[in-house]
Symmetry: C2
Subunit: 229 residues, 2 copies
DNA sequence: TGACTAAATTATGAATTCAAAATTACATTC
DNA sequence: GAATGTAATTTTGAATTCATAATTTAGTCA
């Protein structure tokens, strides 16, 4: 996607593309709450656009599963259910595993050093208990590996799926125990990357996903039992 | 997706959803040729709809990679390049591998028998040299395995990617040698499914994809050297 | 008071309209 | 005759309009 855009000197964005991005942010940030109606009129006023491009954007988001269109009843922010988490994570796991394998084949030594650097920063965040910082750097590492896989299709697919889980993943604040386990997993990941052991890195990334899935599921069940549905 | 739709008695389709399906067919069938402009006006007249729903559909197809939107220059049918084939197939391979594993866990004995039946039909098509029939039944088997995986997200993702390769895959008429190899691979696949050996089925499906990728690549290169670009 | 019906209101889906951008056709110059 | 610049035409992107479906409100009757 970036590759193609860079060919043309000026990468103009159409309104609907811009809106897709903006709406993704609103949904991930929770500004548009899961299970609620997408306030078409409000958003038009907020972004100062007409309904046409906004609705185009909603159609795209719907095909990505971020919103759900109900015929004649408008668009709703998709509520992430346990069932969906159990569906999406394994798929994401398989894709990240592939990314790991490909990354080991294609990543440059310089890039490996850059990943290691971010990893070390992340460890600092962990040790100082900075969960937000940890999260951001964590995501960054996954993005760097994805990028090193040199496969835009894979990148796009992963990001689309990630998007759907971003919010619950962020909210599922890890327990101290899970957090330390995650850090150990990440140590392993970076070591395997440095060793360029693609096969094993793939397996480890998939396991890492599986652990995240459980963490998110625990959060969802905890939430469900605390709040009334 | 089907699950949710089946809740509501009447599954009405909005115009744009209908159009997404119709346009997919036109693109896969080659009626809309790769690399050509999507004739907005013509299609509006053909389907007797206004530009609004048609353009909504194009936005969705663009996010699936079937068409490419150029700002202020309209929509173009995406031309499948060798690079794209090399990108999409591995991703599809990883997803099908996952599907195989999950299918072995979740498929019923009855479903296995049904797959076997379609497989046997496919062999008949092979032996009578009916390539079209073989293709259809082949696709059907893959769909059945996907369905048995009981993961709608996986199904949707696979189908979206498959769509992008459908046309070249169909055109890349297999050589006699490749065809017989494909049949042997399918024998193995069905046997592993009956043995419910998920791990091995996954591996085999991924290999099968890899072989298909090479077959398609050979076709694309052959085409490129025969025709002027 | 509470359930049901009907009218009024609002929101949605899709067609139409309109301004801006791109393409084409044409003329002019070298 | 090719190349450049300009006007006319077409196409695109987005706003607006309009018909229809859904929701809300008001009103009726038990």
């Amino acid at each position: 996607m970036t590759a193609k855009a860079s060919v043309h000197a000026i990468a103009r964005k159409s309104l609907h593309q811009e809106l897709v991005g903006r709406l993704q942010v609103l949904i991930i940030s929770g500004d548009l709450a899961p299970g609620t109606k997408v306030p078409e009129k409000d958003l038009c006023e907020r972004f100062n656009v007409s309904r046409t491009p906004l609705r185009e954007a909603l159609k795209v988001l719907a095909s990505d599963g971020l919103v759900t269109l109900e015929p004649n009843r408008g668009a709703w922010v998709t509520r992430v259910t346990a069932g969906e988490v159990e569906e999406v994570f394994p798929v994401l796991g398989a894709l990240e595993a592939l990314a790991g394998e490909l990354a080991c084949q294609n990543i440059t030594d310089e890039e490996i050093r850059a990943v290691r650097k971010v990893h070390d920063e992340m460890i600092v965040s962990y040790e100082s208990g900075d969960l937000d910082g940890y999260f951001d750097l964590n995501q960054k590492i996954h993005r760097m590996i994805l990028l090193a896989a040199r496969n835009d299709t894979l990148t796009t697919a992963c990001q689309a799926l990630s998007m759907r889980l971003q919010r619950p993943r962020y909210l599922a604040n890890m327990s101290g125990e899970r957090w330390s386990a995650a850090v150990r997993e990440h140590e392993k990941i970076i070591n395997l990357l440095e060793a360029r052991d693609g096969r094993q890195l793939g397996v480890t990334l998939a396991e890492h996903m599986k652990a995240k899935q459980n963490s998110v599921l625990r959060y969802i069940f905890a939430e469900k039992s605390s709040k009334a549905t």
